[in-house]
């Protein structure tokens, strides 16, 4: 009799000690169902950026796991996240990607809700429902916890989830490298342009894992480096990292909450490296930002530069350029919907924003040259892992197995290319789908066992 992953126990699928991960994680329907039930219903999830809804009545339709949610700002300027489903028959009350409205009206029977979620309009209420329907009890379903971290909005369906700050833990410093202004001021970023959304025939975890610092796959992007798409390309510096200072130390960190980041530490003696030679005005802006950041943060803190990272479970980021947040939404076990949010300094000159917008499109998204390489890998990896025979053989995660050092309880640091971050991510993943409690999920008791 064929056994399912659920029957086997999810722990058996992740052998972080020996460095193997079952292919079932990337193709199985049982795994997918367990993720929806125990992981996406509890973890803090990114739902959008405050800058997308600046005015009362603004809304942005987002997702939490596979479910549609509405991020909106009510008349009193308070931000909410609601499940996008009418309490009457479940139809989506909002079918637009974004916009402004005083009411969310269900197209089915026209039950209507104000932007604070209250049921305010029921057709023929006085004749059909008076004395029976308590409108106050039938508001839109709202997340029990919502956090605004430097404009990035996070929500969880679990009322018992820890505060977002604790969930974020030490990864905070590296998320700051994305969200803070380029001159070192806290926050100050905004989403530019629309959100790029596209579906990739691949499991969502490929994306999360890739952006925990898999620089081992650089061969995939060789064509990009040869063609040259960087903001220095016309000036002859084609490689994506050709502007890296000698002596720069790359650092990979995995956190007990399941997050993993890859940042770099500039040499103690560092100076501005021209990275936008193709446009003198943009170059001048970033040179000024570099100097101001150094003065604001001091010589030590300013050495940190964010490259990439993933917050558990499905938010990843680019810290430098193309500076962005991206979400890997599950779309069935063998498909995901990728959303890219591009960030700029809110008060940057328009010429800088426009230059970056073009660069971002050239680099990322469904038409971006680098992203296309990744999608091809994940696409074929998923397809090739789905067969009966293929599923019997696990993936290898043994890279730099013993190279890491525990620098804080449950926090591992590695200074060479490694799969430590991925191993720790999947170990924590198994705890979530196994429905363990928050003490385990946060590594409060024993950190990450190794």
């Amino acid at each position: 009799m064929k056994s399912s992953p659920a029957e086997n126990g999810f722990d058996r699928l992740v052998d972080a000690v020996n460095g193997t991960i079952s292919r079932e994680l990337f193709v199985s329907d049982d795994v997918h169902r367990a993720e929806q039930e125990h992981l996406f219903s509890r973890a803090w999830l990114f739902v959008g950026h405050e800058s997308q809804i600046p005015n009362p009545g603004d809304f942005f339709t987002s997702r939490m796991g596979e479910e549609s949610v509405i991020l909106c700002r009510d008349r009193a300027h308070k931000i909410h996240v609601f499940l996008n489903t009418c309490r009457h028959r479940g139809m989506k009350v909002c079918r637009y990607d974004e916009g402004n409205t005083p009411l969310l009206t269900c197209p089915y029977h026209a039950w209507s809700y104000s932007l604070d979620g209250k049921l305010v309009g029921v057709p023929m209420y006085n004749k059909l429902y008076e004395g029976v329907l308590d409108r106050d009890a039938w508001s839109l379903i709202e997340v029990p916890q919502l956090a605004n971290y430097k404009g990035a909005m996070f929500a969880t369906w679990d009322p018992l989830a820890p505060p977002f700050d604790e969930y974020l833990g030490g990864a905070r410093e590296h998320l700051d490298l994305v969200l803070d202004a380029r001159d070192g001021r806290e926050g100050g970023s905004e989403v530019i342009g629309g959100i790029q959304k596209w579906i990739v025939p691949s499991n969502w975890k490929f994306g999360t894992e890739n952006f925990m610092g898999d620089t081992y796959h650089n061969v995939s992007h060789r064509s990009v480096d040869l063609v040259g798409i960087s903001p220095n390309a016309r000036s002859g510096m084609k490689g994506r990292r050709a502007d890296e200072l000698p002596g720069t130390q790359h650092v990979w960190l995995s956190y007990p909450q399941g997050h993993g980041v890859h940042s770099m530490l500039l040499p103690a003696e560092n100076s501005y490296v021209e990275a936008f030679r193709d446009d003198p005005e943009v170059e001048a802006y970033f040179r000024r930002c570099y100097e101001e950041r150094k003065a604001r943060l001091g010589p030590e803190r300013s050495r940190w530069v964010g490259l990439v990272g993933s917050l558990f479970p499905n938010l990843s980021f680019h810290g430098r350029q193309p500076r962005s947040l991206f979400v890997w939404h599950p779309h069935g076990p063998r498909s995901m919907e990728v959303w890219r949010f591009y960030l700029v300094d809110a008060d940057a000159p328009e010429v800088v924003k426009d230059f970056l917008r073009h660069y971002y499109m050239r680099y990322s998204g469904p038409g971006g040259m680098t992203e296309q390489d990744d999608m091809e890998n994940w696409n074929y990896a998923t397809a090739a892992s789905n067969g009966t025979i293929a599923r019997r053989y696990p993936y290898n995660y043994q890279q730099s197995m013993h190279a890491g050092a525990e620098v804080a309880p449950g926090t591992m640091q590695t200074t060479q290319i490694n799969e430590q971050n991925s191993r720790d991510f999947y170990r924590r993943w198994a705890d979530y789908v196994g429905n363990r409690d928050w003490n385990v999920l946060l590594g409060r008791d024993a950190g990450v066992k190794r």
């Binding site: 005083p102 197209p107 029921v122």
Partner: protein, 88 residues
Amino acid sequence: MDSIQYLERGTKISLVGDVPAKVEDNPRDGAWLVARFSHSSPDLAATGGERLRAANRKSAHGLTFVRDPQTPDVLVIVHADDILGVRS
């Protein structure tokens, strides 16, 4: 009313019960809009509440009243059927 979708913000309208109001927000969904009832104007200050309650009793759909956090006015969420017409 043929359609409420074309009512712009600021348009003067009459609600069921002949209550005067102005269009505050129109989501253009064809079913509901938000009207502003200037409860604080001198001629309505005394009778405004009673007029709204009477209008609610006449409405098949029911009116929903929301205090405007910025002003003393009342915002009325009103169904298309309960908009009698446009006032000049």
